[in-house]
């Protein structure tokens, strides 16, 4: 049977569509010329300029603090939630499931404004702490979904075997379940980490003046007139994200071998 060429051509066109803007941005971050239309020779001067800007380091620090704390909290809470959803089939879990699931599909701007309103109402001063609270809120659902997917492939006869051999519940959890589930939990944590690192909309609503994270800084730099420094900063952010994705992929493959 002769196959149509349309699917192949669409696929190739879409891959180009996905990557051309990103590749152009990366190339231009090494462009010596100020103007994107002309090539001024290979140069790392925008990176050098980047390193001199103090507010960037502050933003890096803020982003890391929030991402690490939010990842830790949401991984613990999300993993518990996944266990609950997997092990029990009650009315409570149906409500629980809906509560976990809805934040995944609600537009970010709605979550941003509602959290802002809550913090104002409770008179919690806006800052890194409110950003942390917001990030945990949207990360829990993602972690729970990832861990739940892994739990569905989990071989629970191993747990029964351990119990038959006299292991207590605690030993069972610590020595059997958690080590076997570690790649799944880690994958969830990495997802939470990148989501927290990359979030703009929700952070923008709840950050307040002192708690600028990297995406918020990139955004305000773009608003205040684009300079090639933004290309360099974006490229660095890209590199970090790619590194995390590569690690996550490695972890995912280890599961199969």
């Amino acid at each position: 049977m002769k196959r149509s060429r349309i699917p192949l051509l669409t696929t190739l066109a879409l891959l180009l569509f996905f990557y051309v803007p990103i590749i152009v941005l990366v190339i231009d971050s090494f462009n010596g010329s100020r103007f994107a239309g002309t090539w001024g020779g290979f140069s790392v001067k925008w990176y050098a300029k980047l390193l001199q800007e103090r507010e960037i380091w502050q933003a890096v620090r803020n982003s890391m603090v929030v991402a690490v704390a939010a990842t830790f909290c949401s991984t613990v809470i999300g993993t518990c939630a996944a266990f609950a959803l997997h092990s029990f089939d009650t009315r409570l879990q149906r409500v629980h499931n809906m509560l976990i699931y809805t934040p995944l599909v609600v537009p970010e701007i709605l979550m941003g404004i509602s959290l802002l309103l809550l913090f104002i109402g409770l008179k919690i001063p806006l800052g890194l702490f409110t950003v942390f609270l917001a990030h945990v809120t949207f990360c829990i659902s993602y972690v729970a979904m990832v861990v739940l997917a892994r739990l569905q492939d989990f071989d629970f006869t191993l747990v029964e075997a351990a119990q038959d051999l006299g292991a207590s519940n605690w030993i069972c959890l610590r020595r059997i379940v958690l080590p076997l589930l570690a790649p799944g939990i880690l994958a969830g944590a990495l997802l939470a980490f990148t989501l927290s690192l990359d979030d703009f909309v929700i952070t923008f609503f709840v950050a307040g003046p002192g708690a600028t994270t990297l995406p918020v800084l990139v955004y305000s730099m773009i608003k205040h007139g684009a300079t090639p420094v933004i290309n360099a900063l974006s490229t660095l952010l890209l590199a970090v994200t790619f590194a995390v994705v590569v690690i996550a992929q490695r972890l995912a493959q280890e599961k199969h071998t």
């Binding site: 803007p21 990103i22 809470i77 879990q93 599909v105 537009p107 701007i109 509602s114 773009i222 890209l238």
Partner: protein
């Protein structure tokens, strides 16, 4: 420890957290839409319908219409582009399939602001695309590629397309392609087999794709803000302006309530339809 007690103790952290920081604030927004503004950025006392009434502001119908129109068009374009790609991914060899999934997922991982900025950079008046088009004589010297509704549309499709491809691919992967061959053996043209056998076969994947594109598209804010002009604002922009610009929170809440109502329909289909199908869950799992 009883089973019930154990269930509650593992469910409690997420139940409490999401009730306090997701459910209650969302309800709060709806309630605030009925509060008057005190003119200093806070809420006045008592309850009023005045805030809701102010949505009749003559500029709003156009913005609401544009939000709905752009979101629906984005959804349509995403699905139309994702179907052939999902079809190709499902039919190609296993090794290519995994590479293609990865290539589709990677843009999703890249910081959203950076992705939108990449387009702003690409279509910049001094960028090589505009220069190239000018040199070829395809555009007039005063044509702008940025800050138009068309640009907003383009970037909306760009950033939502992976969400459409993954569920459609997941459905196509499970589709039995022998059914199409059978249809063609029985005399159907390839196009007819495609529209009458393949498309109904992946209907569920298409449904998920529509929802996961439509819902976030309705709430777009960064894209029209960064690559759009005043003629391409969406509800999201107005919410941000009322929140940060003139500090009128009740007004921002009324707009947010409107947006909530707009996404509630597709949202309900998603949350309640999900229990049985599980395809939506796969699309999220597939991203990871």
């Amino acid at each position: 420890m009883s089973r019930r007690w154990r269930e509650i103790s593992v469910s409690l952290p997420s139940l409490l957290w999401l009730t306090l920081l997701f459910l209650i604030p969302t309800v709060l927004v709806l309630a605030m839409a009925f509060k008057p503004s005190d003119g200093y950025g806070g809420m006045g006392p008592g309850w009023t319908l005045e805030t809701i009434r102010s949505l009749r502001n003559p500029s709003y119908p156009a913005i609401i219409g544009r939000t709905l129109g752009l979101s629906l068009l984005t959804t349509l374009l995403c699905v139309v582009l994702a179907v052939p790609m999902g079809y190709y991914m499902a039919r190609t060899q296993r090794i290519w399939r995994q590479t293609l999934v990865l290539l589709t997922v990677v843009p999703f991982w890249i910081c959203f602001v950076v992705r939108v900025f990449a387009w702003k950079h690409l279509l910049h008046p001094d960028g090589f695309i505009r220069h190239g088009l000018l040199a070829l004589g395809l555009i007039a010297p005063d044509t702008m590629l940025l800050y138009t509704t068309g640009t907003v549309m383009l970037v909306l499709v760009y950033s939502h397309l992976p969400f459409a491809i993954l569920p459609i691919f997941a459905a196509a992967e499970k589709f039995d392609f022998q059914l199409m061959e059978a249809a063609m053996d029985l005399g159907a043209t390839r196009w007819r087999a495609f529209t009458h056998v393949f498309l109904p076969g992946i209907a569920r994947g298409i449904g998920t794709a529509v929802l996961v594109v439509l819902i976030p598209a309705l709430g777009s804010y960064v894209i029209p803000d960064m690559v759009g002009g005043t003629e391409s604002e969406m509800i999201g922009n107005k919410i941000a302006q009322r929140t940060f610009g003139d500090r009128n929170l009740p007004h921002a809440c009324a707009l947010a309530a409107l947006l909530t109502v707009a996404v509630l329909g597709p949202l309900m289909v998603m949350v309640f339809g999900k229990g049985r199908s599980g395809t939506a869950e796969k699309s999220v799992g597939g991203v990871v």
